[in-house]
């Protein structure tokens, strides 16, 4: 049975190596489909693991598809059908989680995004993923072919795994006129980048007591040379900006140190901080879900701890 790995324009090397790691545990040979022309994809020869038997590169002269994937999904679906791929694996990101279900619909297959594991038993595919607001892990059988999945597995290395060189076969997406929208404008969000890549992050949750509490957390962040994030309730109350929200539907942070004040520790929020190396949490409820995700915890009133931290940091102010 033919299988393929799909590499999308915004994938980085951690994504690609993560996919290479996943296929090590699955039988059969794989093809590699590269999409787009950015950076490392431009090499004419590509280093790949032994399991990869051929590379197909889909070039696109106008990669900006901020509003839709219509033409990609149809072209890819046609190619997947032509090659009789029974399994398609991609990394999970904002693009693949829209593109893959769309391709699957065209092919009438089974699709699951953000899977955490993939197993093959007796020619059947089983996957796991988080459900119920990320509190539960569910196992599914994907019954129809092709099986199309995205995974959030990332490799710890951002270098190529050099095994062998393969020459690519080039393909081109057909050019089409997108006339269903007009006045397209884009704006880069710089603040999110700062939070996403920060080495130290402080997060203000609902328990910080409103705008004053949030401002104090932001002041501590400044003194500690950290970035400030927040949880959904503070964004919904208009206290913090939308782009500061940490969690599965906001920014996923991975700092060396993450200090959280007054969050209940709801699973979607926990997903956003779980990649932190060391997590500190402050909450006055000893039964709070927050402490499930922390390395160090303080059971106390958040406002008191925040005030004491500010006092301790005053000598460094100004």
């Amino acid at each position: 049975m033919s299988r393929t790995i799909l590499v999308l324009p915004n994938d980085d090397l951690e994504n690609i190596n993560g996919l290479f790691e996943i296929i090590e545990n699955i039988g059969g040979a794989f093809d590699l489909i590269l999409i787009g022309d950015s950076g490392y994809l431009q090499e004419s020869n590509f280093k790949v693991p032994d399991k990869i038997q051929s590379i197909h590169h889909f070039h696109d002269l106008s990669m900006s598809q901020p509003l839709g994937f219509g033409r990609y999904s149809k072209s890819l679906a046609e190619f997947i059908k032509q090659q009789s791929y029974s399994l398609v694996i991609s990394s999970a990101n904002e693009d693949s989680n829209v593109l893959l279900p769309s391709v699957s619909t065209v092919l009438d297959g089974s699709c699951m995004t953000d899977i955490t594991s993939l197993n093959e038993k007796a020619d059947r595919f089983y996957v796991t993923r988080f459900v119920y607001n990320m509190n539960i892990i569910a196992e599914f059988e994907l019954c129809r072919r092709p099986v199309i999945v995205s995974t959030s597995h990332r490799s710890s290395t951002s270098k190529w795994v050099p095994i062998k060189f393969l020459k690519k076969t080039n393909h081109f997406f057909p050019a089409t006129d997108e006339n269903w929208f007009s006045g397209l404008e884009s704006e880069t969000i710089t603040e999110v980048d700062g939070l996403r890549n920060a080495k130290k992050v402080l997060v203000a949750g609902r328990g910080v007591s409103g705008k004053k509490g949030y401002d104090k957390v932001a002041e501590i962040s400044k003194l500690l040379n950290a970035k400030t994030g927040t949880t959904r309730p503070l964004v919904q109350e208009g206290i913090a900006a939308n782009h500061e929200m940490v969690g599965s539907s906001g920014v996923i942070v991975s700092p060396e140190k993450c200090l959280i004040f007054g969050s209940s520790g709801a699973a979607p929020f926990a997903f956003g901080i779980d990649k932190s190396q060391i997590i500190f949490g402050v909450n006055n409820d000893p039964e709070s879900q927050l402490f499930r995700f922390c390395d160090y915890g303080i059971i106390d009133d958040c406002s008191l701890i925040i005030s004491e931290l500010l006092k301790l940091l005053q000598p460094f102010n100004g």
Partner: protein
């Protein structure tokens, strides 16, 4: 008249479910039947933005009619009366006895059938459901209807009889004017709460009823593309060490020294 269809799911409110409740789940049932049923948070954004568009349209000559649609065995009066009270014109329940979780293909085909019978200029929905987390219904519906899909919608306004959309993806906002019927999937939207109805608004609509249609039985007979095998509790990986002290000052001092340690 512009007609907007808003698709919404009624789901368990998992915010108030205790750890011990999750641990009691069986392999096919999460065991949280006692929890409140609410409109899914992503769909709340879709409903709120539809109401805002209706308000914007009322200031000009082109009125907007809002139909809210859900699929399931029943719909509580508390939910639908609140929808009427905040300004939804019509609420539709497509009655389906079979479980509707984890069946994105079937759900999208059921909605597709409904939309083929009626004409809509825009379909609003949450990009994913917080219970199933599939995020596939809008995408599949877009393919079935052959209309564009706009995902990661962050904000929508209705100006000069057109929808002006803002999406947020990775490190980028994108704005555009939509020229054709389309599906708008809301994700991490700027206004994520559905407004509350006043008592006066609720009293005004208390006699209104929803439209109920039975789902065609042929949808149940088709094989699902996904089968749920089992559910298990998501275990916690970190072992929390508590910082003790006589008062908040002492605890803050230990916390700060640990946080600043290289």
């Amino acid at each position: 008249m512009i007609r907007i269809l808003i698709c919404f799911a009624v789901v368990h409110d998992t915010e108030n479910v205790l750890k011990s409740d999750w641990e009691n789940l069986t392999s096919q049932n999460p065991g949280i039947e006692h929890s409140n049923m609410i409109i899914d948070t992503y769909d709340e954004s879709a409903l709120e933005y539809a109401l805002q568009c209706k308000e914007m349209a009322s200031k000009v000559t082109c009125p907007i009619h809002l139909t809210a649609l859900t699929i399931g065995q029943s719909l509580s009066a508390t939910i639908y009366q609140n929808l009427f009270a905040v300004g939804i014109d019509r609420v539709v329940l497509l009655k389906e006895k079979a479980p509707v979780s984890f069946c994105p293909s079937r759900i999208s085909r059921i909605i597709h059938k409904f939309t083929c019978d009626e004409r809509f200029d825009a379909i609003f929905m949450g990009q994913q459901n917080s219970i199933t987390c599939n995020g596939q219904t809008g995408i599949r519906l877009s393919n079935l209807l052959n209309v564009p899909l706009i995902s990661y919608v962050n904000d929508v306004v209705f100006i000069n009889n057109k929808f002006h959309v803002k999406t947020k993806k990775r490190l980028q906002y994108t704005r555009a004017v939509i020229e054709q019927p389309a599906i708008y999937c809301f994700f991490n939207a700027e206004r994520s709460y559905l407004r509350m109805a006043t008592l006066r608004e609720k009293l005004k609509v208390q006699s209104r009823e929803i439209d109920v249609f039975d789902v065609d039985k042929t949808f149940d007979q088709q094989e699902n593309e996904i089968n749920l095998i089992s559910l298990s509790y998501n275990p916690v990986t970190r072992n929390c060490q508590f910082i003790n002290g006589q008062n908040a000052g002492e605890k803050a001092q230990v916390l700060l020294s640990l946080f600043m340690k290289d």
